[in-house]
Amino acid sequence: MGDNKLLGSFEEIVLLAILHLSNDAYGASIRNAVGEATGRSVSIGAIYATLDRLERKRFVTSWQGEATPERGGRAKRYFRIESEGRQALYEIQEVKRRLGHGLVADPVGGTA
């Protein structure tokens, strides 16, 4: 396992959002997907800072999309998950599965 490439929890959420959105993964849609899934408002800066980190780790690639009038003529930047990103997602899920045996359904501290 490439331990220097282990995902952070927010990185994992953003990667999962890109996977979920498939061909429509760009800043605003990723932000909305993360917001809906977590129930929290996320800043666009936090999303792009994470996307930048993921791109430097080669987990995602990005390309310039179309510019639309409602965006003030500014182009979208689409993101796609790469095989290394999928592998990193798989590894973090494995780590959680191995270490999560003691976790019970009640997060308050009840015992099973």
């Binding site: 605003a28 800066g45 792009y48 639309t68 965006r71 003030g72 500014r74």
Partner: protein, 142 residues
């Protein structure tokens, strides 16, 4: 010219098909503009379109507040994504404007800008301190 109607389609019937009909009728009515945000009211025989915002027309109220956008451009990082980030927020601004009105959209936009600025300030202070330390060190040796 292709037009997308995005907004609130209201019909006298609860059926979804009626709403779709209202939207398509709105497309026929306004064929001169690309994107229209508004309310289409279908009473069974005709469609009344209340237009909120036609983005491709020169209407400053359809764009985010310019001063806020300037501040945002200064605050955002990383630089290579800056244009896309500003575009993403502009897209959400138009969406909120169509859904909740201009006042709400402007408030929301300013909140987003202040949020980004609050993230940027600690970074600036850090760099300020580093530069001040370098300057002091150089002065010490000169």
């Amino acid at each position: 010219m292709t037009m997308i109607f995005a907004g609130r389609a209201r019909a006298n019937s609860e059926q979804n098909g009626e709403n779709e009909f209202a939207s398509s009728k709105a497309e026929d009515l306004f064929s001169e503009v690309n994107v229209v945000f508004g309310t289409a009211i279908f009473d069974g025989t005709s469609v009344l379109l209340v237009m909120d915002c036609a983005v491709d027309l020169v209407d400053p109220s359809c764009s985010p507040p310019q001063f806020a956008e300037m501040i945002l451009i200064l605050a955002l990082s990383p630089k290579k994504y800056r244009d896309s980030q500003v575009g993403d927020l502009a897209e959400d601004f138009v969406r909120y404007r169509a859904k909740y009105g201009r006042g709400f959209a402007r408030l929301w936009y300013w909140k987003e800008v202040l949020r980004e600025v609050s993230y940027a300030i600690p970074r600036s202070i850090r760099w300020g301190l580093i530069l001040a330390w370098v300057e002091e060190t150089i002065r010490w040796y000169m």
